[in-house]
Symmetry: C2
Subunit: 310 residues, 2 copies
């Protein structure tokens, strides 16, 4: 049995010992992993921690505001970095999923490394969890926060890495969040990938496509709040399809809705969502987003699919 | 009220009057429209009709054999044309839906025109129905068998057109099929587009992709026989997605399943198929087709979608 209280105590001791009187930066995306990491380190070293929120332009509706507000309400020194233009420039022209992940990762570490140097900070705290490590080693997917595994030398970016949650699976991370007294919106928050909505636009990422998938994501999240599923999201295809809008033929966008149950993201089941809910989602997505003519529902478990499309 | 018996009588008179003692060719794809047309003309002019089955390589599993067998069993003179290589060559490099339709149409009429000239035939009978005419005029979709509407001059291809079903909607065509005593497999047959599986491969069409969508179509048809829906089919995406096969990460194909209820194809409803059936389809498609890692279900009505994707 995992003991969250014991884990917090031990972590704090470890973090204090490693960090000493040096300073730490923590990139907080607002997900449960990075927020727990940030709060844990803050509890251990207080104002020697600076939390950073990087606005990469790929976040969900209202997310940047929410994260910064939450961190400040917890008394954590927080820095907001607007890097939208740089991320879109880095992603431009890249259609391949793995190339997109690499471009995101590279831009992410460069941005964070730059902030760390500006603040003369030596440590970067990261919300890596056990599933990230397993998946990257198995060659399933290269998570952007598992540096050693993929041969990225942190020294190149100018800092050392602190990963206090590396041995934990998702349910235990949530227990730690509750132990730390974090609000339910954080402790029970759905997983959201590091490269964010860029993985939910198949093919090349542009600000216009991100706006479409952001709106579709908002609709899916609104309509599935009560389902209690592990992860609910929307994906914008690169493929297009014919449709009819205002009586005229159009060649428009396709959006897929994915709703899964899972314990730890290692395996997952497509939720058998009532059609009433699915049809409302389909009507809203095609009705509220002018470019979308078709809405699909993912009926594949993991395996053989992954949860995300990329 | 539409009277099928009266319609057959009048059609036969009309066809005899127009054709006189000249000869007719009829391209029969095996669908209800072209088969009814073929049988009607055969009834009217007997051996002055030659039925032609063009094997474009884009048909469903077992379809070429089934169609030729059926026509011969009805005592109709039948010519089989193997044009697989020519059709794939014509479609090569074309990713745009409308370009693909045009390439198909052009190759279709050239092939048919050539056969007509070889047989010294003046008339081509076609299974155009009312919905094709309406949709093409409305600019919704260019059906391959509505020449006048789209400004193709049949003279260019060397023949005159005979369209006995032009004023009929689908339910009436089925009534005529029953009146003509055609087997249930024909009279109740699902609609299938002229350009066949080429419209169900998004992006460029290749023999390999057609083989994937053909197998997926077979699985969907097998598993949905009892549903009594208007149309059930599979679509192969050009987009790819990550998945896991035999414990390894792969970047594989996506297949969408579309199952709709409709009276006349002008509007349609996505059928709310029991999840038990959908999950079996998903498991079979990802299990029996090595390249497919993900299966989606289309939850959009027409409008705003069309029934087909292209």
């Amino acid at each position: 049995m995992f003991g969250a209280k014991k884990f917090v105590e031990n972590s704090m001791k470890d973090i204090r010992k490693i960090v000493g009187d040096r300073r730490v930066i923590s990139a907080c995306s607002g997900g449960v992993d990075s927020t727990v990491t940030t709060v844990l380190v803050h509890k251990a070293v207080g104002d020697k921690l600076v939390a950073v929120f990087i606005d990469d332009g790929l976040r969900r509706e209202g997310e940047p505001q929410f994260v910064v507000k939450t961190l400040k309400s917890l008394g954590i020194k927080t820095k907001f970095i607007d890097a939208k233009a740089e991320f879109f420039a880095a992603l431009k022209g890249k259609a391949d999923a793995e190339e997109k992940r690499k471009a995101f990762r590279d831009k992410f570490y460069k941005t964070l490394g730059k902030a760390a140097r500006e603040e003369q900070i030596e440590f970067i705290a990261q919300g890596t969890i056990k599933a990230d490590v397993i998946e990257t080693v198995g060659g399933i997917k290269s998570q952007h926060n598992v540096l050693e595994q993929i041969g990225i030398n942190p020294e190149v970016y100018g800092y050392k890495i602190l990963e206090p949650l590396k041995e934990l699976f998702k349910p235990d991370v949530r227990k730690v969040a509750r132990e730390l007294g974090l609000p339910k919106e954080i402790s029970e928050r759905m997983p959201f990938p590091g490269p964010a909505l860029s993985l939910r636009v198949l093919g090349e990422v542009t600000p216009e496509k991100i706006a479409v998938v952001r709106k579709a994501t908002e609709i899916v999240e609104e309509e599935t709040k009560k389902l209690g599923t592990f992860q609910n999201f929307a994906v914008l295809h690169n493929d297009k399809a014919t449709g009819i809008k205002k009586g005229k033929r159009v060649y428009g966008n396709i959006v897929t809705v994915r709703i899964v149950d899972s314990q730890d993201a290692v395996t997952a089941k497509a939720r058998q969502v009532p059609y009433e809910v699915l049809m409302r989602i389909s009507e809203r997505i095609t009705g509220e987003i002018p470019s979308v003519v078709r809405c699909l529902y993912d009926i594949t478990d993991k395996p053989p699919s992954t949860i995300e499309f990329e």
